[in-house]
Amino acid sequence: MLKTLFTNPRTCTGCRSCELACSFHHYKENNPARALLRIIKIEEESLDIPVVCRHCARAPCMESCPEKAIVRDPQTGAVKILQSKCIGCKICISACPFGIIVVDPKTREVRKCDLCDGNPVCAKVCPTGAIVFARVDVGPRILTRSATEKTEKILVKYR
């Protein structure tokens, strides 16, 4: 079964190791501004929310592309941009419900997450499991486990 990325804002520390590792993997430089995922920080509320491409089952970016430049990789299930076909119209950016398709600040190309060809570095470096790469049916269960940690503590305490 295919694997994809799951996020857990409750455990995200906002360290942006994922953004950094993403940029290093794709461009061999330390440059979170070029990352293909984002940690959104809402500082007033002390929130850190990881935003990754969900590689949607019915992907609006793919459907909106006039040049059919966005395709699904049959091996990894990743929704990918074929740079050779992309005309840079940015309609996919508008179509994406999560706003996670980006324009690269250096090349000005439209870029998106490609799951690092099946081994995403963001999930690998995340120190707290806030980004998890898991089988599509297992991922939600990992999040359930994480969410019950507090209940577990209370139950143990008052046993």
């Binding site: 409750r10 455990t11 995200c12 520390t13 906002g14 360290c15 942006r16 190791s17 950094l20 590792a21 940029s23 290093f24 461009y27 061999k28 430089e29 330390n30 440059n31 979170p32 501004a33 070029r34 920080k41 500082e43 007033e44 509320e45 002390s46 850190d48 600040p105 250096k106 470096v125 120190p127 707290t128």
Partner: protein, 623 residues
């Protein structure tokens, strides 16, 4: 350039001129970057004897070659200036995301000089750098300033370092706060920034940091990450954060600054109120600086009592101390204190230590309600502490005196209050020097006033380095302690100069990356050759620059000492108190090993020449 961004930014606030200079090759090989090059610049560009709040002082921001890179905990940058309350060399290090952003925009160092006519802020958008009017945010707190500037520049992801009202009003321990809740707290860098009428620095960087050998670098970084993950750190500091150190000091080492050092530690009957279990109750989640696998910060929530519902980022070892210094054993209050000092733009300890000093005077009857504007400064009075904090921030009434820091305040106030102002070179003590000999020696000789982050050995790393047995907990003999302090002073100077954090390196744990890994990381990142011993030599050079700066300011061996209390009043530790004779002998040994003059404590001509620091000699040596 690889590793380094390659550019130093010079901002002349008098003339509103901005100049970009290329990074000097010679500086790199001699001082690496960050705190090292900062120290060199401060020494070269300021005259001895200047008032720290005069336009002639410099305020230097510096990031290291590893800042912003894949190296674990690469978040650090250093601010350097002549210190407003130590009147000596001073630097202050901070994490968050600001330092890396400086590098991403293409700058290793930013030097501020002069004083602006009207309040300004600096806006760095990669290559485009401009000074913008800040009159509309002058008088606003740090968080409002952040919000307004981000909205004005139209990008919520810009990274900002700013000062609050205390910085503007030159409260001597005002902090520079970056990324909402990370502080360059020690030393009063916020006051220096305020004296220059510089409200904030806003940065957006998209250029990134380039690496000479990416594949190799990635490999070493993963190895370092693994080392940290396998070390004891994630279970201690990674879980409890710095309050873990508070527990360690109080319960294991049996010394912990409490009630202005009136008590040797928090009484065991009270400790459960501020201990690890009480702290655990507050945890909502963990919070980390840029690229940190350890995340020693937290988001905390107060769930009961008068601050119930309060949520915010917190808190450090220091904050925990602050509460107990004022006799307040309540972590909910500590959270409130943390949030307020971050919002206001104050170092958390500055006001706490000043208020604690005043509380002791109040108890002894040296001051009364008449002096304190009607506030009852009794031990443990939370409301009084918070009201006084606001007064300090505004320099209002009695707060104006406390805003001077304990050394100056005691001098101004007189009436025997000096006896209760516990400091070294104006710097307050966050760890009781009576803990042990290395602790005492490092606190006394630190270049920026009593301080545990310059040279206090915190781990058995020394053993790793030289094979000399050194246990964290056994600080009760003087054997090897001078050597240990020197090693850690040099090591910490290296860590602050390359841009990594002390928490997950040799500075605090021998299992974490150390000099050998630094050398590998730097070599792969920059394409130059570094070795562990070469790095340690750089550390020594940097520390000598700091000491030479202080010698030029007229500081001598006499200043490397403690208030009388620490020589005479015993506590529960093994060494009980600092025996003056042993202490002076230990100092002799330290200066000798350092190659410094034993009578003055200043770096000798021979030592400076040997380190290639010919220009750092005191004029007297050239006669």
């Amino acid at each position: 350039m690889y590793g380094w961004a390659g550019t130093i930014l010079r901002v002349d606030l008098d003339k509103k001129k901005i100049k970009k200079q290329p990074m000097h090759k010679e500086w790199i090989s001699k001082f690496i970057g960050g705190a090292g090059i900062n120290a060199k610049i401060l020494h070269d560009e300021t005259q001895p004897g200047i008032d720290p709040l005069d336009p002639a002082n410099r305020l230097i921001f510096g990031a290291g070659p590893l800042t912003g890179t894949l190296a674990p905990s690469s978040a650090r940058y250093t601010t350097t200036a002549k210190g407003p309350f130590t009147f000596a060399f001073c630097d202050s290090n901070s994490g968050g995301h600001f330092g890396p952003e400086m590098k991403f925009a293409g700058y290793d160092h930013i030097i501020f000089q002069g004083r602006a006519e009207k309040p300004l802020y600096l806006w760095i958008d990669d290559d485009s750098v401009e000074l913008k009017d800040a009159s509309h945010v002058w008088g606003k707190d740090v968080w409002e300033t952040n919000k307004i500037i981000k909205e004005e520049l139209g990008d919520l992801e810009i990274k900002i370092a700013a000062i609050g009202v205390p910085g503007e009003k030159l409260v001597r321990y005002a902090a520079v706060i970056n990324d909402w809740a990370r502080a360059a707290g020690w030393g009063g860098m916020g006051a220096v920034m305020g004296s220059k009428k510089l409200k904030a620095i806003a940065i957006r960087g998209t250029k990134g940091v380039q690496i000479a050998k990416p594949k190799k670098f990635e490999e070493i970084c993963s190895r370092c990450r693994e080392m940290i993950e396998k070390s004891p750190k994630p279970k201690t500091i990674g879980y409890y954060g710095k309050p873990w150190l508070n527990w360690l000091r109080n319960e294991i080492q049996k010394s912990n600054p409490t009630m202005n050092f009136k008590l040797p530690r928090v009484p065991p009957s009270e400790f459960h109120k501020v201990g690890l279990e009480a702290f655990e109750e507050l945890i909502v989640k963990w919070k980390g600086c840029f690229n940190c696998p350890l995340h020693c910060g937290h988001v905390l929530a107060s769930r009961s009592g008068k601050y119930a519902g309060l949520v915010g980022e917190g808190f450090e070892y220091n904050h925990a101390i602050d509460g107990q210094m004022m006799g307040i054993y309540d972590l909910n209050f500590v959270l409130k204190w943390t949030i307020e000092t971050n919002r206001l733009g104050l170092d958390c300890d500055g006001p706490a230590y000043a208020i604690a000093w005043a509380m002791e005077l109040y108890e002894k009857g040296l001051i009364t309600k008449k002096d304190t504007d009607g506030i009852e400064l009794t031990w443990g009075n939370q409301e009084a502490a918070l009201r006084m904090l606001d007064k300090i921030a505004q320099r209002d009434g009695f707060g104006d005196l406390l805003a001077e820091g304990i050394q100056l305040a005691a001098k101004k106030f007189g009436r025997g209050s000096e006896k209760f102002a516990y400091h070294v070179k104006g710097g307050r003590m966050e760890i009781d020097p009576r803990t042990g000999w290395a602790t005492a020696l490092s606190h006394a000789t630190s270049t920026r006033g009593a301080d545990h982050l310059k040279g206090m050995p915190l781990s058995n790393a020394f053993g790793v380095w030289k094979g000399i047995p050194y246990e964290f907990t056994d600080d009760s003999t003087t054997e090897y302690k001078a050597e240990a302090v020197i090693f850690f002073e040099n090591l910490n100077a290296v860590i602050d100069s390359i841009g990594l954090c002390k928490n997950d390196t040799w500075s605090q744990s021998a299992e974490c990356p150390g000099l050998h890994e630094f050398a590998e990381l730097l070599s792969a990142a920059t394409g130059r050759t570094f070795t562990a011993s070469k790095l340690l030599r750089v550390g020594e050079r940097i520390y000598n620059v700091e000491r030479a700066y202080n010698a030029r300011e007229g500081l001598t061996r006499e200043d490397d000492t403690f208030p009388e209390k620490f020589f005479t009043e015993p506590i529960e530790t093994k060494i009980k108190l600092i025996n003056k004779d042993i202490f002076e002998k230990l100092k002799d040994e330290y200066y000798k090993l350092r190659g410094w003059d034993v009578t003055t404590g200043s770096p000798t001509k021979i030592k400076l020449d040997e380190l290639g620091l010919e220009n750092f000699r005191l004029p007297i040596y050239d006669q």
